[in-house]
């Protein structure tokens, strides 16, 4: 599959994955992260941005769900191993949710959303 296009095409297009939904209640966060991980495995780590309720996925001290649902915290902590770092977040989304930077897991960094979008060729939303 990797051969289907030249690697110069691969390298010429940058991808931004935006996560805008909260973890646990739906599968959006996991699905966005899985797409990002596969991009990294193909040699092209996407940029990842948490905005809106997506910033709730960055809260420290999360656990598995009561019925054994995995959540997304473990995946997030592993992203840096695949050169997906930092975990960009929208500061305004944090503020409107009454959250402090100190509540976030390690590896998060404040983003300018408009700039991030303008700097990428393709944007995927989850």
């Amino acid at each position: 599959m990797y051969d289907r296009q030249g690697s110069d095409i691969m390298n010429s297009r940058s991808i931004l994955v935006i996560v805008r939904h909260p973890p646990h209640g739906t599968s959006w966060v996991r699905e966005g992260l899985e797409a990002a991980l596969v991009g990294a495995a193909l040699g092209q780590p996407p940029t990842i941005l948490f905005s809106g309720d997506g910033v709730l996925a960055l809260l420290a001290h999360q656990q598995r769900g009561a019925l054994g649902q995995k959540g997304s915290a473990a995946m997030l902590e592993g992203l840096s191993l695949y050169d997906i770092e930092p975990l960009w977040y929208d500061q305004r989304s944090l503020e409107t949710r009454g959250m402090e930077v100190s509540q976030l897991m390690p590896g998060c960094q404040q983003a300018c959303v408009a700039d991030l979008i303008a700097r990428h060729d393709v944007v995927m939303s989850f």
Binding site: L59, Q63, R97
Partner: protein, 95 residues
């Protein structure tokens, strides 16, 4: 005669709490479950009148890393959730 109101969506991306504030009667209970528990910490739930009892489901708080504001929000296990549905007359889900 009282009603249990279930909220399972994030209070930040919806206007459910504002809508609920007009729909509750004195003595009603509101239980936050799933992504609704994000309303359990901070000041989000202040739009609700003071004569209703506000609860959050403990297991959904735990998985999300949410600590309820203890002086305004009680926490319940699944047994407490069941008991609330039995002791109230009807349950309304807001989503």
């Amino acid at each position: 005669m009282s009603t249990l109101h279930l909220i399972n969506r994030s209070p930040f991306s919806t206007s459910i709490l504002q809508e609920l504030a007009d729909a509750v009667s004195e003595g009603d209970h509101v239980l936050l479950i799933e992504d609704g528990v994000y309303a359990a910490s901070g000041t989000t739930s202040r739009v609700l009148p003071e004569d209703i009892e506000l609860w959050a489901l403990e297991e959904d708080c735990t998985s999300r890393g949410v600590t309820p504001t203890s002086d305004t929000v009680g926490t319940l296990g699944m047994a407490g959730f069941v008991a609330l549905t039995a002791s109230t007359d009807r349950t309304v889900s807001w989503f």
